[in-house]
Amino acid sequence: MILFDFELERPGTPADAVALLERLHGDARVLAGGTDLVPNMRAELIKPGVLVSLGAIAPEAPATLPDGALRIDAFSRLAELERSELVRARAPMLAESARAVGGNQVREMGTLGGNLCQESRCLYFNQRHDYQFAAPCYKLGGDRCYPFPTNKRDTCWSVYMSDVAPALIALGAEIEILSAKGIRRISAEDLFTGNGLRPLALDAAELVRAVIVPAPAPRTGWAFHKSTVRGGLEFGMAVIAVRLELAGDGKTCAGARIAIGAVRERPVRPAAAERALADAAPDDARLADAAAAAAKEVNPLPHHGFTKRYLMDNIRVHLRRLLVRAVERAGGPQA
């Protein structure tokens, strides 16, 4: 039940949608699957004057580009990605991450773009504020931070909890962003500001239009894990995605991309850990060291009842297991 009025527009094409957004000067929000936006409107965390619905625009089917990359319409439902033979064959980690989102209905409703554009979350934030935490926090334009009272003004440690984003970052995906000015392409990592107040590096008149996942090099392995308490219908305590490439000798790690989500204001790539894996033999000890280094480097925020210490331990263990798995999948020495 939403208790305030707004208008809703249903443009017929993406171009019309961004033209509308441009015209509305930030008074509008994009409505895709609504699984993040509508609950936030119900709680009155967001009160837009207009919703620009993408419901009248049919998504294009995933397609392979000439260079072998996979282009996926951002309006695609997560369940479609999960079920798409093409996505499962060409970007299985993306399919698996889509399958990890929410519950069955959320995946049928939610879109790829919508999942990427979800708000960051915090226990103190994600509820109505009629009588609980009624004075607004920084993220709501107020003057305080409830969970971290010593945080300086405008520092918000809400966490960004998309399951799909870490997978896309590990896959080296790019995001196609549409606005009235045209299309720009950024790496998936650059979609995020790292600021919990406003986690997305998107202008109000911009729309995530597509995701492009590059074709994997030969001898590439991947692995994905979402740490949860109950295995479904849940945001992750940590979401970890790994892609690892072996060199021609099949014994040396040519490079690894690790992305860890749900524990910071944005998905984090532990650069030092990735560097430590590059050009090295991915033996158990090295993978364990890298995982330990990554857990530290990520520096998780305590969130949703999980302590920083435990999140580090959880990430360290699961990341190590993922690295081993990825090496196996890449056809490495452990296979």
Binding site: R128, Y131, Q132, V229, R230, G232, H304, N314
Partner: protein, 789 residues
């Protein structure tokens, strides 16, 4: 009765077809024209004095039909307990001060939700902040912020004591002196919510002289009594109508403020008023279960025989008395039932804090105290070198034993439960296996056992149930019962009993239930007595109708009553089956020859007919019930020792629930309790900060999903004894089985990992750091050994 056709068999639910087709009417489905929307203004502070309330701006808002504060009420208090020692203590809306976040201060009725919300926002309240207290140990200290004055009859010098239960038998000091081994431990349980899917919702319609109420509840007669009293109306002026109820688990007993407000607003506006609680309100302002801190000192002989036990329980009972003083009484009760304790001293304190009020919750104290006692018992067994089965068998009560309060456990099946649980689970072969010889990999498996016992049908208002069976001319029956089907299957069970006693088909029984104007009084779907109390009232009523049919047939056929029997809606002579009268004929005959009397049966039941009252909450004196159910439950868990992540893999419940009227419904109760207990153990926690709720939603309050359910097996131990002549000797099965299994999971986590957790929940974090602490200790020990060498 030799042959049973209906009871003892797994009939489909009577209400099933309505529930799978969407026809079942719940309170939110009742629509009345002209209904207004009610909304509550709640306290934004955990503890504050109300200096001033100004509702004038709210009242002036177009679309607002009424605004009430405590000044618009009669000021009549209510309470979960209303006794001379514990009189009603809570007003329906806050007066002068608020004692918890979310406390109800005012209510509005308006034409729609948006207007009602705006009106609530327009009510001006000026508060003067008061210091608040959340930890019961802090709250007890003299000089702590005073939520309410301590109970005048509690002699201890503590602050904020809402109530105290104490009892003692034997000589505890001597018991400890005579013990070979004494152990002291402290345990804590955490805050959990009930998790009923249907939110609290009330629709009230005042018709000038009649208050019609539809509300999601656990017992219509309790609701009527409390609503009538607080509204200052005669009972006959309040009618609680039947609706299906979407789950309760203890959280919908007692009077809730929104129920009163809907009724009062309807009286003022003359229109129906509906108030729906949002899930956030239920989480942050309504009642949850009760977190207990439990200190236990136990003395045993070398062979594990319990000699003495001293228990101190402290309940964080929130801003009013609620059921806080009941849970500290019950924690004693759940201590005394399963094992012989020759010397015991018990004291329980219910302590006011600035949290929302507490409610009963499935098990009502049993999960907490059994977790503590059974965990400690395992530690004692290990310290003494006894296995967990042996120590339990050593202390388990035997059939026919008298309890310290004078109750008798009758055919207590506990010993059989423990033996069968051990045998069926292969307990002793599995116990200690992974700790003894750790397997490859990171997964460790553990097994644990827990024992519990539960009473049924205890005396609490209205203390008994009545049932009326009206025969239709065609021989079918209409059953009037106040019992409310909250999902447990009361309508099905009552139908089975009536069908059995009257020898008519399940389809011949039509149930009219839970309507205070048309159905007789009923104890309600709590205190675990529905099948026993209302079931036996139904048996009496149907038997009474049957006897009348037989009496008429006897006259008509000229066959003595003793030679008549019933089958398939026919009364017949057992000597000459051709001498027969159908029910239709018998009823017609009754009307023709007995002043027009049709056939109506009446039945009444109450636990302990000779017992005037419920036992004393303060002293525990007085009998409790004649109806104790026993159980032993085994849990098998898996723990990932690198992450601490744990899950229940398999649960075995061996229980003595008396005669299972509907075995599949019994199984449903068991599975539901296993699921709830594993949520308690591993997942669920209402997180709070300074009295505010951090996770008022089902994403962050993690109730089990379909992924988490374990294999759940069960067996009833001594059914055969009941089958012979005692098909109505039913016992409790609806809430006692959340307890032993919780303890079993704690013990299984220990068995898997060596980590002993004295507080719920058993989070991955606690288990992991328990493991790390063990590792550290071992390293230290081996280092010391090296140094010593």
């Amino acid at each position: 009765m030799s042959e049973l056709n209906y009871v003892g068999k797994s009939w489909r639910r009577k209400d099933g077809p309505d529930k799978v087709t969407g026809k079942a009417v719940y309170t939110q489905d009742v629509k009345l024209p002209g209904t207004l929307v009610g909304r509550i203004l709640r306290s934004p502070h955990p503890h504050a004095r109300i200096v001033r309330i100004d509702t004038s701006r709210a009242k002036a808002l177009p679309g607002v039909k009424a605004v009430i504060t405590v000044d618009d009420t009669k000021g009549i208090k209510h309470g979960f307990v209303e006794t001379p020692r514990y009189p009603a203590d809570q007003e329906v809306l806050a007066r002068d001060k608020v004692v918890h976040v979310g406390e109800e201060i005012a209510a509005v009725a308006a034409i729609d939700q948006a207007t009602a919300l705006k009106a609530v926002e327009l009510i001006e309240v000026e508060y003067e902040h008061l210091p608040a207290v959340f930890d019961p140990l802090q709250a007890m200290k003299p000089g702590a912020p005073e939520v309410h004055p301590s109970h005048p009859k509690v002699a201890d010098p503590y602050a904020n004591i809402g109530g105290k239960s104490e009892t003692e038998w034997g000589d505890v000091e001597r018991g400890f002196a005579e013990s070979d081994y004494v152990r002291e431990d402290r345990f804590e349980s955490h805050l959990r919510t009930h998790g009923y899917l249907e939110p609290h919702v009330t629709l009230a319609h005042w018709e000038g002289d009649k208050m019609n109420v539809w509300t999601s509840s656990m017992g219509a007669f309790v609701k009527r009594a409390k609503l009538a009293r607080t509204l200052d109306l005669p009972y006959s002026a309040v009618r609680i109508h039947k609706t299906y109820v979407g789950g309760t688990f203890g959280g919908k007993i007692d009077l809730y403020s929104h129920e009163y407000c809907a009724a009062r607003l309807s009286m003022i506006t003359g229109r129906p008023v509906r108030i729906v609680a949002s899930r956030e309100e239920i989480f942050s302002a309504f009642r949850h279960g009760q977190p207990l801190a439990m200190e236990i000192k136990t003395g045993v002989k070398k062979d594990g025989t319990i000699v003495a036990q001293q228990i101190r329980v402290i309940n964080n009972s929130g801003g009013f008395r609620g059921s806080g003083v009941v849970v500290i009484f019950l924690a004693w009760g759940f201590t005394m039932i399963p094992y012989r304790i020759p010397n015991l001293r018990y004291e329980g304190f219910s302590v006011y804090t600035n949290y929302p009020v507490r409610a009963p919750q499935r098990g009502h104290g049993a999960p907490q105290i059994r977790f503590a006692i059974e965990s400690q018992l395992d530690r004692i067994a290990e310290d003494l070198g006894i296995d967990p089965i042996a120590i339990r068998l050593r202390n388990a009560r035997l059939p026919g034993e008298a309890l310290p309060n004078g109750d008798n456990v009758h055919q207590a099946g506990l010993v059989d439960c423990i033996k069968m649980a051990a045998e069926k689970s292969g307990f002793l072969e599995k116990h200690g296996r992974d700790r003894g010889a750790p397997p490859q990999g990171t997964i460790r498996r553990g097994i644990g056992i827990g024992v519990s016992a539960y009473m049924g049908g205890t005396l609490i208002y209205p203390n008994g149930s009545a049932v009326i069976v009206k025969m239709n001319d065609d021989g079918s029956a209409v059953v009037l019962t106040g019992a409310i089907d909250i999902g447990q299957g009361s309508e099905t069970v009552i139908s089975q009993i009536v069908a059995e006693e009257l020898a008519i088909g399940m389809d011949d029984v039509k149930i009219i239930s839970s309507d205070t104007d048309t159905t007789p009084q009923d104890i309600g779907a709590w205190i675990s007595g529905m099948t026993y109390v209302t079931g036996n009232a139904a048996r009496q009523a149907a038997g009474n109708a049957r006897d009348k049919l037989i009496a008429v047939a006897s006259e008509k056929l000229g066959v003595p009553v003793s030679e008549l029997a019933v089958k398939d809606k026919v009364v017949f002579s057992t000597r000459d089956p051709s001498a027969r009268l159908t029910y239709r004929q018998a009823i017609a005959a009754s009307i023709a020859t007995h002043r027009g009397d049709t056939v109506i049966g009446e039945g009444y039941w109450r636990t302990m007919r000779d017992e005037p009252n419920h036992p004393s909450l303060a002293t525990t004196k007085g009998r409790w019930t004649e109806n104790y159910a026993f159980s032993a439950q085994v849990a098998e868990v898996e723990v990932d020792i690198e992450t601490g992540e744990a899950r229940l893999v398999k649960a075995l419940t061996v229980h003595d629930c008396g005669f299972p009227v509907n075995p599949a419904l019994v199984k449903g109760q068991i599975d539901g309790q296993i699921s709830m207990a594993l949520g308690h153990a591993f997942m669920e926690e209402v997180m709070t900060k300074d009295g505010y709720t951090l996770n008022p939603n089902w994403l962050d309050y993690r109730m089990p999903t379909i992924h988490n359910m374990a294999i759940s097996e069960d067996a009833d131990v001594i059914t055969e004894q009941y089958r012979v002549g005692e098909p109505y000797r039913t016992k409790e099965v609806g809430e006692g089985l959340v307890s032993g299994i919780l303890a079993a999971m704690a013990n299984a986590v220990y068995d898997a990992t060596g980590v002993r957790l004295n507080s719920t929940p058993f989070t991955a974090e606690k288990i992991l750091y328990g493991l790390k602490a063990l590792e550290f200790k071992q390293k230290q020990a081996s280092r010391e050994e090296t140094v010593g060498a």
